[in-house]
Subunit: 222 residues, 4 copies
């Protein structure tokens, strides 16, 4: 199912029934990812799409709308993978967690997708509705999935009874941040691959930094 199906006209940006709009967004993703929003010119998008600048306006009423449509179209994809993976395995929260995180991290192997959070971060001030949309669609749903898993783990006695939201952020942030870092500082290639980082973080996140002995048999507790 084409997200841009003519049956469901986009809320704001009107489009014709052909595939063109998707081609435009495909091109726009390239250019926005490479240059960011402000630095991207309609000319760039047009050239990347093999169209004239004016033609873009047949499908999207403004540059803002191209951007919004793009985010709406793409952001969901990343999130849905995660969502599915997480919900599948509530019976084994730990495995579900690991699988979801790995899938989610993999989806950013397309670096252009990794650019979207960065751009949203940058442009959130100028596109509050878009930021809201992103928060609702991606962040909240991801958190919800994670929280469910954490709660299940806690209920099963696998996890310590921590605040699930804090845990969710503690787990996701290092990975999310790594994605931003790689874009902002491409010159400073990180020492670990993304996959390795995922596992390292996951392990550290589960076991903690502190030496277990220190925590455990001080059996002398009050």
């Amino acid at each position: 199912m084409n997200v841009n199906a003519p049956l469901v006209p986009g809320p704001k940006w009107t489009r014709k029934p052909q595939a063109r709009p998707d081609e435009v967004l495909e091109a726009a993703l390239d250019v926005f990812a490479a240059n960011g929003f402000a630095a991207t010119r309609m000319d760039d998008i047009a050239k990347a799409a093999g169209l004239s600048k004016a033609a873009i306006y047949l499908y999207f009423p403004s540059k803002d709308d191209v951007f919004k449509a793009l985010v709406e179209q793409r952001i969901g994809v990343v999130q849905s993978h995660f969502d599915a993976a997480a919900k599948d395995q509530k019976h084994d929260p730990l495995a579900g967690l690991q699988r979801a995180i790995r899938l989610w991290a993999n989806s950013f192997h397309d670096l252009r997708l990794a650019a979207l959070p960065r751009i949203i971060l940058a442009e959130a001030l100028r596109f509050p509705e878009l930021a809201d949309f992103y928060h609702r669609t991606v962040i909240e749903r991801t958190q919800a999935s994670l929280i469910e898993l954490f709660q299940a783990g806690i209920d099963k006695g696998l996890f310590r009874p921590v605040e699930p939201l804090v845990a969710a952020r503690a787990l996701m942030s290092p990975l999310m941040f790594e994605i931003l870092r790689r874009q902002a500082f491409p010159a400073h290639i990180p020492p670990l691959s993304m996959d390795e980082l995922v596992d390292s973080i996951f392990d550290l996140f589960l076991k903690g930094l502190a030496m277990p002995e220190v925590e455990n048999h001080s059996g002398v507790a009050p």
Copy 2:
């Protein structure tokens, strides 16, 4: 190019010995924090500083340089607090860590400061030199301090022998990310104060999510 070079050439962005440059930077911080880099006009900064646009150019040769000067002025402060706190207490890595993190987090109580990392992450593509500068000045030094602390903790047998860089990122990212989140999604006020988050994250980071029993003597549970 710059005919109005000051008598005492600054490191890169020239300035006169008076207080004006600082006033300009103060104003610039306001405006950049509110609008980001690209969307900020020199006129805005000038107006905020109570000066004419041309006057700004008496102190800084370009918009870029205003931004760089601002980063150099402000980021260093944040970073140095951290640096000092961390280095102070190498004998007690755990306390040092906690103190450094808290101080560092506190420095962002001025939300305008929190805008700087956001802008750098967002605009790094357009300002590679700036991103490099930030990486060198802030990230690398912060990491170095943290790594020292972690290594000291590991050497003392307080911490598990993890990769210090990964640990550093695991600890800092949730906090850094929280700072970004609060700017991008001000509508979604987080449930915890920054201080609470710091402590929660710190605790979770140390002890890990997993139930200790599960990890240590499997099966001996009640």
Copy 3:
């Protein structure tokens, strides 16, 4: 840089295949001739061309390039006339010389053309490449043509064996200078028409100022 590059890239200053660029140059000639380079604003050119300022940039990437294109377009014409006339008649150097000089002088009946050498003179410091271009395209070629003619005349025993380059300059300079003078001091209208001046100069140049008797058979005087 120039996103609006034309389908057929011009030699240096890009242009669209239509007549517009020529119209712009026509207008630019008017304005540059009247105001010089520095004092001419893009708005002036645009207005003279019946276009908006931005439209000029569809055809020329900068003010400099408008000027360069104008020079390239117009200067060559003047020079080529001269060139052809000179080369045509190597068998009769004297007639060829006279014809070439006259044609060349006539081409400046369009006073706007006369402005170009003036502007180049004025702006040579700011446009060294342009000055070079002018020197190569116009001065050197004109000199080459003249030198050929002079050498032919010398070889044929018509001219005294002088340094051809010196002769070329001795002949051209008074005319070139007259063109500059008429622009700089329009209030001081010269007593002779350009055509008359050409003939007078030519005659004086050939026969010299000195009384022939004085030089030849001294003592035969009355």
Copy 4:
């Protein structure tokens, strides 16, 4: 006698009695010669004069006036040399002519002086009064001197009875033009020194290009 004597306040640009104005003009000559009028900034002049920009305005009410004062101060010098040399020797017009021309050419060994005619020619449109001043002070007086000499030569039977004005221009233009050329095309060093050129031109100017036999007694030659 200082031209800028306080006794005779300049017609438009007021000045204080010290030597400062002359120092400013000295500096201005450097900068105008190097950059032309439009491209010279008051800052440049100030820096060259070792003063602040504002101080310049104590002596000259505007950039235009600095330029005017400079031209008025300097242009006369060149001309007066010429003038004197020419008038001295009316009894021997040929020697007077040669001496005057040589002196005049020598005065441009200071290349900054050579810049003045160039700038006037270039900027005459923007400074009509100045152009008039130059014409009256320099051109007309130089021409008058030359014409006197020529007329004397003609009267004495040394020169052919040509139009003295035309002759004056025929003689001066190649030299004047050479001065302009050297500024505009410094890359194309001329093959002759200025002194050599003066003599060559002078010789050619006197004897003419044509073979004497051809002109005088056709066919009677050996």
